[in-house]
Symmetry: C4
Amino acid sequence: KSVTGFNFLAIALASVLVVLVGTIGIHLIERNNFPSLFDGFWWTMTTVTTVGYGDFYPETIPGRLLGIFLFLFGIGVIGVLIGKIVDGASAYKRMQREGK
Amino acid sequence: KSVTGFNFLAIALASVLVVLVGTIGIHLIERNNFPSLFDGFWWTMTTVTTVGYGDFYPETIPGRLLGIFLFLFGIGVIGVLIGKIVDGASAYKRMQREGK
Amino acid sequence: KSVTGFNFLAIALASVLVVLVGTIGIHLIERNNFPSLFDGFWWTMTTVTTVGYGDFYPETIPGRLLGIFLFLFGIGVIGVLIGKIVDGASAYKRMQREGK
Amino acid sequence: KSVTGFNFLAIALASVLVVLVGTIGIHLIERNNFPSLFDGFWWTMTTVTTVGYGDFYPETIPGRLLGIFLFLFGIGVIGVLIGKIVDGASAYKRMQREGK
Ligand SMILES: [K+]
Ligand SMILES: [K+]
């Protein structure tokens, strides 16, 4: 199922870009709430996957606007990436089965 | 993939409408828990994207009924909007590639 | 888009059934954490939509098993219901446009 | 709708495998935060369904990397499983209707 015109590489690159923006951005905007870059990365990943544990969240207006940017542009891209990973595993299994 | 008969503009308008209802509604219904309109907007966005950090949530019956309204009518609309954004990025990239 | 063989009425009935099981079940299993039926209903709705604010969650093994039942059987049914609501709004708008 | 080349059995097996990796892995990596295997199972299920109540979450770098593994490989697999369960219920109902 080709949900979009993107191939796996383009989606992976777009995902890395969105995650970098979230990670670095929130660490710069709310250094008190996100003291390390890894905290920013962890929050970004829990956000774009919509898991949202609530252990980290932004509290300032710029931080929340970055969050809403991740909602609108990250959730879709990471959703397509996760779909591609399932597709890839499915195709790999079919090839294994047919190759024998 | 045209998930629905809506075009981008119709979905964007419906999204704005749902988000306005959530933002203004929760600020009016539970002013203590949502002291500013921006708090209401932030809660509405974390709700309709299903991120649900838990930093804000309604505690009264009318507030929770507004939440359930957002679940039933907002999650679908915002989900389609996010899908359209990915589709748009995909179409833009394809046009760039073919146009050169 | 007919995701499933269910029509709207069948999905609505299945949704009501799943939500009733969650609402009544968690109120009976963990009366301390879910003192009212409406608390059980609110938790069930935040669960099957995957919003998961974390204001309510089960803490006993039977309560968590009911939660996992809602994950496996409720998320899909409510997801289809939300999709049908978007489809319905889309069809309604198309009919309005064509009918005039 | 055959989202993937997997059949129900393959998806169920992949789901069990991913859930076992999450359950056992987080119990071994963060024994303080996940004192029982059932706590690990409950956290894994709230994670791969993206409910994310926030009653349990990893706090160490290895624990969070296991979480991100579940995001990338678990959310898709469990999403397909939930889709198959809805498809199965739909097919069962259609067969019942036609068989009579
Ligand atoms: K969530
Ligand atoms: K959550």
